[in-house]
């Protein structure tokens, strides 16, 4: 399994280090004046707190939240600007969830400094009160722009959008949830209602671009990567909505080794990525900002947690 790919930044350093020539100072200034933002992300971690057992039929020994944490700490030491995001379905999957109902997951994610996560369909598994109970332990945002949560126990915890300002560069982040009908028991989602994600996405993008002057827009999506039928997925979302720079996806447990570029109606591009499930991988996207160009240079890679890296 590929565990790590070289990324641009490292090679820039290597290059600078080997060449003792005049003009190096310019390169430093360049790096400092044109900083980068490192986006780290997971999806569908499904309470995989401990690594997969040695006798697992698949993924034996992989994953583990404490290993993910030490990797995140390492990257935080190396990079100044780090965003840590998740695309939903933290709930359900191991005895940790049966015992603690997601509280331990949210505590550890807060410890690691997660900024936000989307609401997955499994976040309803303990009902709205159950979610609210666990969400009290979370020190990060739950984002969903297309669920109406009004007058439900979920409401105080869910926001449509979040804006992160990094060195004057504004990153708008919003969340999208999957349809509830046929996926979540009505007894569990109660009065939380699903709204059209395309409409919600357009509204968020407009809000970010026109009212907040965001430079970069990220969608945390639990819609799923791609379906055969006409159900909305990340690919069709990108085809229908312009202005989203990056979709961090989930639900379909898809391992995308490289991000996928999809053309928007206005001819621009949306990148889509997804990191399988269970915290087996930590995804990483670096935005290399350049004041001379409106769009950052993007490099992506992933780490396999617990692999021979």
């Amino acid at each position: 399994m590929i565990s790590r790919k070289t990324f641009l930044k490292q090679s820039v350093y290597a290059l600078a280090g080997s060449a003792v020539v005049p003009g190096i100072a310019d390169k430093f200034t360049d790096l400092i004046e044109n900083p980068s933002i490192t986006i780290l992300y997971t999806n569908d971690t499904h309470s995989r707190i401990d690594p997969y057992p040695k006798n697992a039929r698949e993924f034996a020994g992989l994953g583990g939240i404490a290993k993910r944490s030490s990797l995140v700490k390492k990257i935080r030491f190396e990079e100044k600007n780090v965003l840590l995001l998740d695309a939903g379905d933290v709930f359900q999957g191991t005895p940790w969830f049966d015992q603690y109902g997601g509280k331990v997951d949210f505590e550890m994610m807060s410890e690691m400094g997660y900024d936000a996560m989307a609401i997955g369909n499994h976040e309803f598994d303990l009902g709205l009160e159950g979610f609210a109970d666990a969400a009290k332990s979370a020190e990060f945002s739950f984002l969903c722009a297309n669920y109406s949560t009004w007058n439900t126990p979920m409401h105080p915890f869910v926001e449509h959008e979040l804006i992160k300002e990094i060195d004057g560069y504004k990153v708008g982040i919003f969340g999208l949830g999957i349809q509830l009908e046929g996926i979540v028991d009505p007894k569990l989602h109660g009065r939380v209602h699903y709204r059209d994600p395309v409409l919600s996405a357009k509204r968020s993008v407009e809000n970010f671009r026109n009212f907040h002057a965001c430079d970069y827009i990220i969608c945390l999506s639990h819609l799923g990567y791609e379906y055969d039928g006409n159900q909305i997925d990340d690919v069709s979302l990108a085809q229908e909505v312009s202005g989203i720079d990056l979709i961090i996806g989930g639900h379909t447990h898809t391992f995308l080794d490289n991000h996928v570029a999809v053309e928007n109606p206005d001819g621009s591009e949306t990148l889509i990525t997804q990191m399988g499930h269970s915290g087996i991988r930590l995804g990483r996207i670096d935005l290399h900002l350049n004041k001379k160009s409106p769009r950052p240079l993007v490099t992506s890679q992933y780490y396999t947690i617990g692999g021979n890296s």
Binding site: A16, K67, S70
Partner: protein, 239 residues
Amino acid sequence: MSYRIIRVIGFCFLLTGCAYFSTTTEIEQPTSAYPEPDPQMARQLDAYRDSMNSVMGQKVATVQDTLKFGKPESSLNNIVADALRFQAASTLRQFVHVGITGEESFKLYFVPGKLTVRDVYEFMPYNNHLVVLSMSGEKLMTLIEQVADMGGAPISGVRFRIDEDGNPNSVLVNAQVLDPDETYLVATSSWAANGGDKFPALWNVSDRSDLELSIREVYINYFKNQVELTASTDGRIRR
């Protein structure tokens, strides 16, 4: 901010060999233990794990041999299908003819040693329940054809041979020839009955009872009754 400055200074040192670096002795060292687990988080988890173990650490059975899933039959295939059939029978207090499940939902194989509640939860992470379907012999034969077509699957109460064309031959149900007009009780999981596994014959069966027994309880109860789990196959599916 401080990281960045320190890095740049370190960088100058690399490039010029100047002694600048030595003056900044209070450099923050990386706190990360990667690829080892974060020790601080590991300690916090251990505290939770200790209290979890009072429930999850309870012994369910002893595993004597390595038990795996496999085709056309295997020891673990037979155990998971027998468990469904016998637990359904003891819940209904009635004879149940067949037990069947797909094997994709099971996430572990068994290694010799103590089997705990936690292992069973890892083995079967999903919260499905036990379902008993009443179906005609004709429909049951369709189900057996689907099993044969897959090259075998966990099934209990049925014996047959898969011929060269992938069809079931010499089919016996509870040691008797399958009767197309007879009615048979088939135990399975709600997942399989709702269209989850790859047995269409189990889908949309109108005569269906959903029992208030989770699949995990089925396995915990059955393994406890077995006390020891050993490798054994009985030739229920042959090539």
